[in-house]
């Protein structure tokens, strides 16, 4: 079975420990909206102090305009729990992020927005950066078969939690799925009230 989750241009961000303060700095967190964060993505790296685009930052390279797959290194998304970080990435156009590892809260926040985060070994991440060094890459991500397709029949497999895979493939409603357990929630609350009454 094959199901292409994403097909697109890859942008290599060759950095470790990219934290959420870098993904979206604090001055953009005062919004009460869920939209409008694309311009804020990687703000301090992407723009110079005078507001002009920083030509040395990879996202501004001409060959990576329109990228929708982000390739990076270890511990991506460490730091705060701000969901503004995946919002900014997604609104910019990144729906897939490939890294050696992700911080836990960032990972959950991204999945809750329907993004696919792929974790690969350090060796495989190195192989992918080597591919990018040879020129702009267009890859397909097949979620059903769990493969990154490079073209010319070349591919690299990846592991994914089966529950997350199912959620991404079927587009399950995050809250709605849990609400199906409403009777159990009510029973749990009642039992808690009788056994541990001080909890309220």
């Amino acid at each position: 079975m094959s199901q292409i989750f994403k097909q697109g241009l890859v942008c290599p961000l060759d950095k470790n420990n990219v934290d959420t303060d870098q993904i979206i700095p604090k001055q953009f967190l005062t919004s009460v909206s869920r939209d409008g964060f694309a311009e804020a993505l990687f703000y301090d790296w992407r723009y110079l102090a005078d507001g002009a685009a920083n030509p040395e930052f990879v996202l501004n390279y001409p060959q990576y305009q329109g990228a929708s797959i982000l390739l990076t290194r270890a511990n991506f998304g460490c730091g705060s729990s701000r969901e503004h970080a995946p919002w900014a990435l997604q609104q910019y156009g990144f729906n897939v992020i490939i890294a050696e590892s992700f911080a836990d809260i960032f990972f959950n926040n991204s999945v809750n927005n329907g993004m696919l985060l792929i974790t690969l070994s350090k060796t495989n991440i190195e192989l992918l950066f080597n591919r990018c060094a040879q020129g702009p890459q267009q890859w397909q991500i097949d979620l059903a078969s769990q493969e990154i397709l490079f073209g010319n029949n070349a591919a690299m497999g990846f592991n994914i939690d089966p529950d997350i895979k199912q959620r991404l493939l079927s587009g399950l409603d995050f809250i709605g799925s849990s609400e199906q357990l409403n009777p159990q929630i009510a029973a749990f609350e009642a039992q808690r009230r009788s056994h541990l009454p001080w909890l309220g």
Binding site: N17, G79, N109
Partner: protein, 470 residues
Amino acid sequence: MGQTLYQKIYHSHVVGKLNASTDLLFVDRHLIHEVTSPQAFSGLKLAGRAVRRPDLTFATMDHNVSTQRRSLDAAGETSRKQLEALAANCDEHRIPLLDLTHPDQGIVHVIGPEQGLTQPGMIIVCGDSHTSTHGAFGALAFGIGTSEVEHVLATQTLPQQQAKTLKVEINGDLPAHVTPKDVILAVIGKLGTAGGNGYVAEFCGSAIRGMSMEGRMTLCNMSIEMGAKAGLIAPDGTTFAYLKGKAHAPQAEHWDAAVSYWQSLHSDADAVFDKTISLDASSISPQITWGTNPEQVIAVDEPIPAPESFSDDTKRQAAERALQYMGLSAGQKLTDCAVDVVFIGSCTNSRIEDLRAAASVVRDRKVAPGVRALVVPGSGVVKRQAEQEGLAEIFKQAGFEWREPGCSMCLGMNDDQVAAGQRCASTSNRNFEGRQGRGARTHLVSPAMAAAAAIAGKFVNVARLEGAAQ
């Protein structure tokens, strides 16, 4: 096989199974603030959902409030809108809110314990990564994103998978002037910023048993800085004594039953952890970060390590980049570096014991010329107590600014920021690039070390400064 404390709390909160590896867990306390909740309330409204348990939800204003004036508009127009949105949402859904007019308002992770909302055995969540703080009470507490905030508001539950368990054992006595902040920085230095990814960490050992609740909170607060989902400390007599008499703690008729339940909350002797690390408390010196993540840390008297000294490519490159950003070089000693700004505050170190430790260094001394120093108490309760004890006066006499409670310069969402190129001794939790302001250079230290830096005008081993005075 016995269970770890984490496993006990996890299993006692399973409402049901969502699928093979995901359980639906009940949430005992949901703490909210202005920054990560407005989109969650909008989502509820859009879907026509109600807040299931407003009685288990508590709100405060902290992240972007002004620490100069108690006014919603004091930190700018967009902040005002966000604070007003929180007030309106709490009003509509009957959620208790400690707003700027409330005498106990403060940082969410300071007020939770202070009000007795944080109790052993609970699951506590908040749209803030430093929710790990509440683990100091033997509660499973972790940060969540806005989609999850909406989920908890709607259902009072959260889908979870079981994390791995990490035991951090710290035995021995802490030397004089070495604080829980130094302990957690040393642990992060040893484990790395991603060393805890996928784990819940339980801190144990004689050094932990000897710590006050406030010290334990500092320790658990920074568990997230090593990537751990949560930090935990088994509750004991120190915990129960702290909670007794707090506003939301179990009242007299339930107290004995609560304590007897809390006493069951510890890892069994035969419980198996997925990973264990241990540290000798007596070997820890006052710590200071030199780089741009909390694992880039040394004892204050040590020279800054050379990037080549890291065998791992990743760490070497990170060190090179960090030294460039921080305007430092390998081999340099931080005790030779002047500081421009000193910040004492944040959910890590803004409680009364932190302020006492800083004030004892500052007493009868002056802030060095050219240094801007501020103290931002964690809550109205802390502020009042510090004023009653005369600590506020000590700080003001020395030349510190004495502010209103809030998150302040830890993340600079309000106007408390560090300018580009300036060096800040900060008692907060993150030294990321740009965290305290674009181009700002942050060095994480304990309150006593921050106070010593303010007096000396440069970084100094507080043990030596105090030794010189004696």
